[in-house]
Amino acid sequence: MAKITLSDLRHSYFTKPKTPDDWALKQLDIEWEDGGAYALLGPSGCGKSTLLNIISGLLVPSHGRVLFNELDVTHASTADRKIAQVFQFPVVYDSMTVFDNLAFPLRNRGVAEDEVTKRVHEVAEMTDLTAMLKNRASGLTADGKQKISLGRGLVRTDVNAILFDEPLTVIDPHLKFLLRAKLKELHQRVNNTMIYVTHDQTEALTFADQVVVMNVGEVVQIGTPVELFEEPQHTFVGHFIGSPGMNVVPCTIESGSAIFGGRKIKTANKVTATTVKTELGVRPEFVSFAKTGVAARVVKVADAGRFNIVETNCQGHRVYLLSAKGEPIPSGAAKLAFDPENTRIYLDGWLGGRRVGS
């Protein structure tokens, strides 16, 4: 177990990166506490797998350092880092039984056979594999194989952290839920640092205490699921997390206040006059119909179970709002009110008045 520190980390797959786009990871300074459950969330190609491979030592970063408990391991081999990793596609050693698969990392490290047997049985019990120990691993279903991959990480006593690279991609939907609950339970039980990479917000938010949201090679926000939802530091986070995502509409600034649709909008943050792109961000949960407000037109109503998702055309921009079941929805023209506590001004995408990473 270890605290993981990424210091001034940058990586490019090119030998001589020229443009900022050549960098798969732009600039990272992250500290992960020992025993925490973290998720790396972002769309495909945002650099999260690159980051994971740097932590596990499969890649050496072009710049910066990786520290485990203050020990610099940037150039240490994967084996020396004592890392376990579960991959997107299950990796099992086909010719071995489930028992031998779980024993493999221990036997490679020369652990005595009676200790191996003891550990394997413990881990098999944790991962519900006890009944299958004697079966050949190749005959298992995808979720069984992922449990073996996970078990190979748990079986070692020296593991600094367990890394998950989109481990539920090939799992059936109804088993995803069970396996996710299992991971959460195992985390509480073994209390190991776990880092979970995914592009699925549900997975990230249910698994992790802290979620790191990434986009095009940089971290846009680190926070608890609640923080990400209530106080997005970047319009990307607002849009990426939540369903539907945050409404983002362009606005102008006059004496520190936002002007949208010819009206002054009260917001949670204040900005001074600026030359960069200014936008207003508000989640559908905090938009409502009102007697006075910005003029809009209802376009579409979608039934989402306990509430309706209403799509409106507001000053030429698409704005979603959630309305409770039974609440009247005006047809055609309407006025929209934005909750001042949860409406924010964004400058060039970043939350105005404050900026992550600077």
């Binding site: 499969l58 994967t78 890392i83 376990a84 086909d94 493999f104 990392p105 490679n108 050949r136």
Partner: protein, 287 residues
């Protein structure tokens, strides 16, 4: 569920059936026919039962050539399979050298078999051949036209040169199909290079290696052209493999009955060995 029954579909199978009948079943049955008859010329045949089979089983000449055949096949398998796997492991996985290596490997396979025999025949000649002359200059007494050992050495070297590439190409195909995640997982699990070979690469190559061994077994058991051109079965009968012996009997001595019996036994040996080997190898495969 009731499926409509339509027997007319059999007509689609008919062309294949005819094709197989004329290129396999009919010729094979002709051989079966010869093997149970005796002829004294004039195209007259008499029923003789299984006497040719009984005679063949007691014939030391057949025993010797069968023994030589097994020695040859087992020796080349013992060399070509491990060598092929080692070369495949050493070949680059990406970059410009991949195609260079693949083309170089494929070259021997493209050469006509009798050309291979002729090439090695000249290459190994003790007075003028590059190999033969060099060996003799280095002090080895090497003459494959007179010494049994030298003849076998040349024969096996030629086959290894000619056919190891096939094993290499098949093994390489098996190796490149292993996803990177397996190697990464192995590194994380602290596996040694030997463990990676034993538990990842070898199991993943099992199917292609089974095919490689089967192909090499069947082909080497049937080998005819190359040894005929290289040594002609000599010196003496020392490199007279089964197929050469059979050709002598059938075409040289025109003993149709014994030759037919020998063909059948020859065919059954290959069929049986291949079947046993394949069944053993696939016994543990997932259903």
């Amino acid at each position: 569920m009731n499926k409509p029954v339509n027997q007319k579909a059999w007509f689609f199978v008919l062309p294949v059936l005819l094709l197989v009948a004329f290129n396999a079943i009919v010729p094979l049955m002709t051989v079966v026919n010869y093997s149970v008859q005796e002829t004294f010329g004039n195209n007259e045949f008499f029923w003789s039962g299984v006497i040719w089979f009984e005679e063949l089983m007691r014939n030391p000449r057949f025993h010797d050539s069968l023994g030589r055949q097994f020695t040859f096949t087992l020796t080349i398998l013992a060399i070509e399979i491990p060598l092929g796997v080692i070369i495949a492991l050493a070949m680059p996985r990406k970059g410009i050298w991949v195609s260079v290596c693949l083309v170089l490997m494929a070259l021997p396979l493209l050469i006509p078999w009798n050309v291979v025999g002729a090439m090695w025949n000249i290459f190994a000649l003790p007075e003028i051949g590059l190999l033969g002359k060099t060996l003799n200059t280095l002090g080895f007494d090497y003459n494959y036209t007179r010494q049994t050992g030298a003849a076998w050495f040349t024969l096996i070297t030629m086959d290894v040169w000619h056919w190891t590439s096939l094993v290499v190409l098949l093994s390489y195909a098996g190796l490149v199909s292993i996803p990177d995640a397996y190697y990464q997982a192995a590194r994380i699990d602290g596996a040694s290079p030997w463990a990676i070979f034993r538990y990842i690469q070898l199991p993943k190559m099992k199917r292609v290696l089974t095919i490689a061994i089967l192909l090499r077994f069947m082909d080497s058991f049937n080998i005819y052209t190359e040894p005929l051109v290289l040594t002609g079965g000599g010196p003496g009968n020392s490199t007279t493999l089964l197929s050469i012996d059979l050709a002598k009997k059938a075409l040289g001595e025109f003993d149709l009955g014994p030759a037919a019996a020998m063909s059948l036994i020859y065919f059954l040996v290959i069929l049986l060995t291949s079947w046993i080997f394949y069944t053993l190898m696939m016994r543990n495969e997932e259903q």
